[in-house]
């Protein structure tokens, strides 16, 4: 279950990807005052990225890999 399993490595990669998404400078791209479906850009972006990260986590964990 432990060791450099593919699952573990995928999760670490996802962690790094998440760190990138939720930090300067990517965050500043969405700092403007635009709206998507009436929702402020930054709010929309953070929640969509968050949901995506959770979705990927679920995918990695639940994926039946030999």
């Amino acid at each position: 279950m432990i060791g450099p399993t593919l699952k573990g490595q995928r999760l670490v990669a996802l962690f790094l990807f998440g760190c990138l998404l939720f930090n300067f400078p990517l965050l500043s791209l969405f700092a403007g005052s635009g709206r998507i479906w009436g929702i402020p850009l930054i709010y929309f972006y953070v929640f969509i990225a968050w949901a995506m990260i959770i979705g990927l986590m679920a995918l990695i964990i639940e994926h039946k890999d030999p």
Binding site: M1, I2, G3, K7, G8, L11, V12, L14, F15, G18, C19, F22, N23, F24, L27, S28, F30, A31, G32, S33, R35, W37, G38, I39, P40, L41, I42, Y43, V46, F47, W50, A51, I53, I54, M57, A58, I61, E62
Partner: protein, 917 residues
């Protein structure tokens, strides 16, 4: 109309329900049918992370900084991805060593140090007290707000005299609950199933309550998300909250809050307790990795709508944003929703307080009080028959003390801060565990001294730059402490340390404390070589996935003890009944039938120590076991030797593997050699039969003609001369054949005599051509020699090479029957040596024959060629000779157009001959 009595009754009823759930959970656990043994309950228990900070405080924070409340939940989401490595390792280690708290973990990692355990406990208690105060403040505020129903005003949370203050009674009620379910009995694993069930239930309640309020605000008071945001955008003072930057705080704050919360999710004592100590099965962690972030996601969706709704609904400044979750339903006269929100807030706060106080009380008892009590010889604790009562007493008192401290902080300093700010002070405190903890998990070089110095340094910076300023802001210290620094030293201003300006107080403290902490941890760890004890613990922790066998820790122990002593010792700490159970379990696990057969070996001693460690902490357990065990201390080199054993075993198995590979290769070689031998044997048989056959042909003709001569004495002279000529030729042929066979046998067996010297190839060719010129003339074959003026010398046996050239030339002569036949001998200088081509325009050799003519006794027996004209050994011998001198002999031929035999010989560089020479 809600009366105070109703609210109080409701609160008590809710806590009563918790009692019932916890009781049921414990009963089920005792019956062996756990209700918490699944990943969903595990995830919900992890959600104890969401306290009233989340329930009330997030909205308050969002009301001042937009999405600035989010890093506290993004951090744990990211950290969850690393749980696979970090948390799993912590769980595995804790289960192997019966670790029951984070203080125990760190103490145990650095050589079971009392000092370190005590230090971690003190930091944890001081760091967490504000956090508990936060919960009490939230309960108190929500209570007084509810009491004003339906009027919505910000109730003052200024403390009443203690005995009239509801918060005090709530604190004591929580203490009672925690004592009842958290310290019901002493258990080596320190697990509380009923309690976890209650915590999971609370997590459901707070989520449902918050989402209910969120839905009500978003769709009941507004027309969906878009409506909330567009109305907020219309108000200029709210619009700032909707964009990052400005009011949302800068990116540094954002990043440091993310880091803080990442650390908090694994280092907060209550998170360690639910995630590690209460973990039933480490496989549950899998699902929790994505379910827990999902929970965080769900509880945060409605934070901004509620915050914006509240800001728009109430005139600015009239209502504290921390209470919007409660005050919005109240203002809309939704009595039941308000009550649900109140209960949700209560569950968020109580869940945190209960788990946190249990975790802290375990630490205080095991790592602070017991080590001291056991050291005071005059108490004669080590002689008392049963200490389990005393242990429970200490824990119960610790729970009360922690709650009183929390209440005290709330009473003294609670007013000055919003909920989130108080919580962040605690987060920064527990972040100080990170270097010692995470470093200890992955770096074997970390030592006790390093951990002690790092923790102390980080803690002192935290105390000076965050906790003391919070007292100063509350008026309990002179405010000049903040504005002018200590004793007027400008550089020592606690929140602009060394003149560092432009950071918020949390980032500022995080920066300096981590510099001090990590710097001291690494620096002092590298200062000195680790002791034997530290080294062995470091190995057990860092390589936990390799030391999986139970009792593996006992490898590092050597000594003698008696079974009776150990059993008595265990029963003193966990009670006789549980001690007997433990020993029974031990005998079962060892596969022996009765306790009388147990031997007091290292495995048993380690087992007993780990059982006691569950009750009083690893450091004290070690001391206790040492009191009944005559231990022979291991020297560092011995420990190193034991550790090396593993790597040696690994190396040995690698050697074995290599040996077996070598063996396999040797077998293959042998098999190949055997096949070659069989092949040679077959060839030898073939050879003998061929030779015999070849010898018989001339013998037969010699004998036949001799008989004719003998039987017919009257034969005329002409005939007689002819027959005698045949006999002579056949005899010559026989002699030649026998010579060649002997020659070949000599060459092949390596017994031939070679006389290598530097030879001039042109001379060799000249001689050969001259020798054969008569034969060629007779056969009317033109012979031509082409050689460059200057050629390098080759190292070879002159006679042998001449033999080869003669053989090739006579072959060419034999196969040239056409009227205009010609044979060309060409000498060519190549990069690697000399090449001699002997080309004819005779009948040629078919491709299938080209492949075999160099084999012994293989002759081109073509109809056109007539009967074979040689022994069939010439080419074989030639090839052997050329090979011997490192050259090559080959043939190119087109049937009907002639053949070209070529051989090459390597050149010794620098030696040339020329015509002039």
């Amino acid at each position: 109309m809600l009366t105070g009595a109703l609210i109080v009754v409701l609160s008590f009823a809710y806590v009563g329900l918790l009692f019932a759930i916890a009781y049921y959970g414990d009963k089920r656990a005792d019956a062996g049918r756990s209700i918490i043994a699944n990943p969903y309950i595990y995830t919900l228990s992890l959600a104890v992370y969401c306290t009233s900070w989340t329930f009330y405080g997030s909205v308050g924070r969002a009301a001042t900084s937009g999405i600035g409340f989010l890093p506290i939940y993004l951090g744990p989401t990211l950290m969850a991805a690393l749980w696979w490595y970090v948390l799993l390792k912590m769980i595995r280690i804790s289960k192997a060593h019966r670790i029951t708290s984070i203080a125990d973990f760190i103490a145990s990692r650095y050589g079971k140090s009392h000092l370190l355990g005590g230090l971690v406990t003190i930091i944890a208690v001081l760091g967490i007290v504000p956090y508990i105060a936060l919960q009490l403040k939230a309960i108190s505020a929500s209570f007084s707000t509810m009491l004003q129903y339906p009027n919505v005003t910000t109730a003052s949370t200024a403390a009443l005299p203690v005995l009239q203050d509801n918060t005090f009674y709530i604190a004591m009620l929580l203490a009672a609950f925690t004592i009842l379910f958290g310290t019901r009995h002493l258990d080596a694993t320190e697990r509380h199933e009923g309690l976890v069930a209650a915590i999971a239930f609370e997590s459901v309640v707070k989520l449902v309550a918050f989402i209910a309020v969120g839905i009500f605000v978003t769709w009941g008071m507004f027309d969906g998300f878009a409506d909330v945001f567009s109305k907020a955008a219309a108000a200029p003072e709210l619009n700032a909250l909707l964009v990052q930057g400005g009011a949302a705080g800068n990116y540094t704050t954002w990043a440091s809050l993310t880091v803080l919360s990442m650390l908090a999710i694994i280092l907060l004592p209550r998170q360690f307790h639910v995630a590690v100590v209460e973990n039933v099965n480490e496989r549950h962690l899998n699902k929790a990795i994505w379910l827990f972030p999902l929970y965080l996601f769900a509880i945060n969706i409605f934070v901004l709508p509620i915050a914006l709704g509240g800001l728009m609904y109430f005139p600015a400044g009239t209502v504290d944003a921390d209470t919007f979750v409660l005050t919005l339903p109240m203002a809309e006269q939704k009595t039941w929703l308000a009550l649900l929100a109140f209960v949700g807030g209560l569950s968020a706060a109580t869940g945190m307080v209960i788990v946190e106080t249990i975790a802290l009380s375990t630490m205080v008892c095991n790592d602070l009080v017991m080590p001291i009590l056991l050291r005071w010889k005059f108490l004669r604790l080590t002689e008392r028959p049963d200490l389990s009562g005393l242990l429970l007493g200490i824990r119960r008192s610790a729970i009360v003390v922690v709650l009183v401290l929390g209440y005290g902080y709330f009473y003294l300093a609670g007013e000055a801060y919003a909920l989130v700010s108080i919580g962040l002070i605690s987060f920064t405190a527990v972040a100080q565990f990170a270097p010692a903890m995470i470093g200890g998990l992955f770096w074997k070089g970390g030592t006790r001294l390093g951990a002690l110095c790092g923790l102390s340094a980080g803690f002192l910076v935290w105390l000076y730059s965050l906790l003391l300023p919070s007292f100063a802001k509350s008026g309990w210290l002179p405010i000049t402490f903040l504005t002018e620094g200590i004793m007027g030293f400008d550089l020592l201003k606690p929140q602009q340390l060394f003149g560092l300006d432009g950071l918020d107080d949390i980032s500022h403290c995080l920066f300096w404390s981590m510099i001090a902490n990590v710097g001291c941890y690494v620096g002092f760890s590298l200062w000195r070589r680790p002791t034997a004890n530290e080294h062995s613990q470091a190995n057990l922790f860092v390589d936990v996935f390799r030391h999986v066998a139970p009792g593996s820790g006992s490898r590092f122990w050597r000594g003698s003890a008696t079974v009776a002593d150990l059993q008595t010792l265990l029963s003193r700490f966990v009670g006789p009944e549980r001690a007997n159970e433990s020993f029974a379990a031990y005998t079962r696990s060892q596969g022996i039938t009765g306790i009388e057969q147990v031997t007091a070996n290292a495995v048993l001693v380690h087992y007993v120590e780990s059982q006691i460690a569950g009750a009083i902490g690893s450091a004290s357990a070690r001391d206790m076991v040492a009191s009944v065990v005559v231990e022979e201390p291991l020297a560092l080199d011995e420990v190193m030797a034991i550790i090396d054993e593993a790597s040696q075993a690994l190396a040995y198995s690698r050697q074995l593997e290599q040996k077996s590979l070598e063996l396999e290769a040797a077998t293959n070689e042998l098999r190949g050699a055997n096949q070659r031998l069989q092949e040679l044997d077959r060839l030898k048989d073939d050879f003998i039969s061929t030779v015999t056959h070849e010898l018989r042909t001339p013998l037969t003709s010699i004998r036949a003609f001799s008989e004719i001569l003998g039987d017919n004495p009257n034969l005329d002279l002409e005939q007689r001369t002819k027959f005698l000529g045949i006999i002579t030729r056949e005899s010559e042929r026989l002699t030649r054949l026998i010579n060649q066979v002997l020659d070949l046998a000599k060459i092949e067996s390596g017994a031939a005599d070679w006389h290598p010297s530097e030879i001039d190839m042109r001379e060799v060719l000249d001689d050969a051509v001259t020798a054969l010129s008569q034969i060629f003339k007779e056969k009317r074959i033109a012979l031509e020699l082409q050689a460059p003026a200057q050629i390098p010398l080759v190292m070879a046996d002159r006679d042998r090479v001449t033999q080869v050239v003669l053989n090739l030339l006579s072959n060419a002569a034999n196969f040239c029957d056409k009227p205009d036949s010609r044979v060309t001998v060409a000498l060519v200088t190549e990069a690697s040596g000399l090449r001699v081509d002997i080309a004819d325009n005779g009948i040629g050799i078919s491709p299938s024959d080209q492949a075999v003519i160099f084999e012994k006794f293989r002759q081109v027996s073509d109809a056109a060629a007539g009967k074979p004209r040689g022994s069939g050994l010439g080419l074989a011998i030639s090839r052997e000779i050329i090979h011997h001198f490192g050259g090559r002999l080959w043939v190119e031929s087109t049937p009907g157009r002639g053949s070209k035999f070529s051989f090459s010989l390597p050149v010794r560089s620098g030696h040339f001959s020329s015509i002039a020479a």
